[in-house]
Symmetry: C2
Subunit: 316 residues, 2 copies
């Protein structure tokens, strides 16, 4: 399996170009005024399936040989990777089996079904997800496309930053939400190669801060009973994402759910963008003053990672 | 006062370029699949102040002589033009007095105040708006910047379509919401000059369909007691907007509030964009099958005109 490096990210960009959106970068003078910095929001909520996850899933599915692809794909996901894989499989014309925790938001399950994915329920633990996905693989021969522990997925996620550095010059910081670490590792690959003076900062929810504790411990410490409104960031780092994050990331900080909700509302109100809590975590940390190195006038890229939210159950 | 023609639109584009966003055009394969056409949404909800109105207000304020500008500006508006004028005046460093109906959404009044506008309340009738604005003009010498009965404003609104025809080739139709007709006339100026094969269709709410009745009568018939959730489209055509609309528009159709709410929710859910009801009226008419000439595969531009909405009072 290929190493996820800048060449892999560039290949991924070519693979997914016919299918993925080149998402816009938007700004808000009101939010800039509140924070005293210049924020550039990379709008992955406007990506296909409403999330950056489409980049990685699409690259992984298009990277399969015809013989592999014939048996279909399977994954376990709390939601956005599930939708992304279902759509990517439909684009290639192969079946997708999606193992979803029973507590996943109904809007996400409905979207998976809408893209033609076959949903298999599991208990909301990492162990049960992996067990059920393993059963599907054994029964069908499907290829597992893990939501982040997969070099093809990581290379795909790195294409968001590839566009960002092309769209915005001279970024001082880039803030990226951290769940399993696929987006963080992909972003680090791209930024460290193409804009080495730009510092990448990972942001996770206070209630699912396994990246911080893993960095402190020097090894992967999975979350135990993570609790946060940012349901896209419940997953924990794996060895593949932990290693480069430990070596290259400027810092890992966290946001409280309260700050995340305030940030989410701010983005809806001032930027007219629907984002889900997971996407608002970096802005939440900014509002809480927890981002190191932030100085007046700094140019800060923020990956607005996803926008799939239940419109009937908003957190305000 | 200049005639609003293509030259005026092009001058307006140069005037406002340092201050206004060039808004993105976004697409949704899900909505395309539902309608069997290819829709290109011009995202004026992502414009400064969340509405296309900033284009016209900014052009009008920047068109004032220094002597005129010294006395400030005044307008009457149900909301978005008010915010737009307040911000445009702040950019030029002059005072803005905003006559607002007492029933205008609080979020819009708060935004006007946030941009430094002075708010003067009136009764929610066309007559009272104009009376109170006249009093302010008499007392301060402020220049009236009418929300649509003003060639400078119309020229500014035409810049949205100027960008649209540059961003999307070969549009068969362009759908534009119709309230006072400033956006419709501005759009007709641009499209008829630069893309004459493209048909422009105006869409208004069923409960405020003065454009239809005016076209049928052959003269401006103002709305009497208009009722619609699309509170940005309560105003009626004036002579300046009626004349060209009558001669150049392909058709005026309407959407029910129910269809508008369904369209609004669809844009939030599938496109991850916050739009207000007024912006969803054209898509509402599409969902109702009321747009003439719609055929499979047609390329349809839709101006998503604004996105200022009370997040605590959503219509679903």
């Amino acid at each position: 399996m290929e190493i996820p490096d800048l060449d892999a990210v560039r290949r991924a960009a070519r693979h997914i170009a016919p299918h993925a959106h080149r998402t816009p970068v938007l700004t808000s003078s009101a939010i800039d005024a509140e924070l005293g910095a210049r924020l550039f929001f990379k709008c992955e909520n406007l990506q296909k399936v409403g999330a950056f996850k489409f980049r990685g899933a699409c690259n992984a599915v298009l990277s399969l040989s015809d013989a592999q692809a014939a048996h279909g794909v399977v994954t376990h996901s709390s939601g956005n990777h599930a939708q992304a894989l279902a759509l990517a499989a439909r684009i290639r014309g192969i079946p997708a089996s999606i193992v979803m925790p029973a507590n996943a938001p109904p809007v996400k399950a409905a979207a998976v079904a809408g893209y033609g994915g076959r949903i298999i329920r599991c208990r909301p633990t990492q162990q049960d997800r992996e067990r059920v996905a393993g059963e599907v693989m054994a029964a069908t021969g499907a290829a597992l496309i893990h939501p982040y522990d997969d070099p093809r997925v990581i290379a795909g996620q790195g294409t968001a930053a590839l566009e960002l550095v092309d769209q915005v010059e001279q970024l001082d910081l880039v803030l990226v939400p951290v769940g399993g670490g696929g987006l963080a590792r992909g972003t680090l690959i791209t930024i460290s190669a193409l804009s080495p003076h730009t510092r990448v900062i990972g942001v996770e929810p206070e209630g699912a801060d396994d990246a911080r504790s893993s960095l402190e411990a020097g090894r992967v410490l999975p979350s135990v009973d993570p609790r946060t409104i940012a349901d896209g960031l419940l997953t924990s780092l794996c060895d593949l994402t932990f290693d480069i994050i430990r070596r290259q990331i400027r810092a890992i900080v966290s946001a409280s759910d309260e700050a995340t909700i305030r940030a989410m509302r701010l983005v809806w109100q001032r930027m007219k963008l629907v984002v889900e809590p997971s996407a608002a975590v970096p802005l939440g940390a900014l509002l809480q003053g927890r981002v190191p190195d932030l100085a007046p006038g700094l140019r800060v890229g923020v990956i607005l990672s996803e926008g799939n939210v239940e419109l009937d159950h908003l957190p305000w």
